[in-house]
Symmetry: C2
């Protein structure tokens, strides 16, 4: 059974979500957030993120790691932390032999809700509905990461076709 | 003998330079550039950078890894690649147990030439002069990386004091 690990990269909070391919929609088997402490020096925080992502890849053995593409935001210092985090995640995933795909925020919203301008609440509602998650999905970073994985599935028809 | 590995981070070209602490100035024991191919997907390039930096740390066993701080430049797409590369370098160095320090381009120029607005040629000339390197120092990324390591030494008097 194919698995996709979605990542919403960040230094303070990095969301992750694992979806197992099933028809007609995937099945979420894990979701959560890797947090690193703002008071700790950035190199140690990045090293911790690297270890946690390596542990996720080791535990869930995804075939694909789908990462939300970093765009430049208003807050320049946050954007740099997100860029550094995404670099660590992608290097780690490629090193582990996973296929790595990047998707822009608009591609993700469009794939999950049908509209590139959807808001966070709409994305979370569609993630819960399509993955049949009745419980509240918190924190939002975990839902965002599942949305990244769903975007990859939506763009990979071969992955969900019967074999 | 203490060693400092200086890094001028980048995705296409990442400069490195190792300085061994000696009085009155350090001694360069290695300098070069890690290159990754622009045609290869970014995750694979970042994974390769991670392997190469890990190999450098393993070979030279630096106590400190000094990294040039990424600032936002005119070219946004280049800045993101540099940010991702610096994230991979810092995570790798911290994971290996090295102390990691970051210095801004101005701090580096100021420490090496005495003037924060120095140009590339002036930096290279001072690196060659202070490290007694008579050969031409190419490519510039290698000289820049040695300058980062020299900046760390200049700001760490305890490192060069007799023990």
């Amino acid at each position: 059974m194919k698995r996709v690990l979605g990542i919403d990269p960040g230094l303070s909070r990095c969301g992750y979500g694992v979806i197992e391919v099933a028809r007609p929609h995937g099945r979420a088997i894990a979701a959560g957030v890797i947090r690193t402490e703002p008071g700790v020096p950035i190199p140690q925080r990045l090293a911790r993120l690297q270890r946690e992502v390596a542990a996720l890849v080791d535990e869930y053995r995804p075939d694909v790691v789908a990462v939300e593409r970093v765009l430049f935001q208003v807050n320049v210092s946050t954007a740099m932390g997100v860029g550094q985090a995404s670099g660590v995640v992608m290097a780690c995933a490629a090193q582990a032999g996973c296929e790595v795909s990047e998707y822009s925020p608009n591609e993700i919203k469009l794939a999950v809700t049908g509209w590139g301008g959807a808001n966070k609440e709409q994305v979370i509602a569609m993630v819960r509905s399509q993955l049949n998650i009745s419980a509240e999905l918190k924190p939002p970073d975990a839902a965002d990461a599942l949305a990244v994985a769903m975007c990859h599935l939506a763009q990979s028809p071969a992955l969900v076709a019967p074999q």
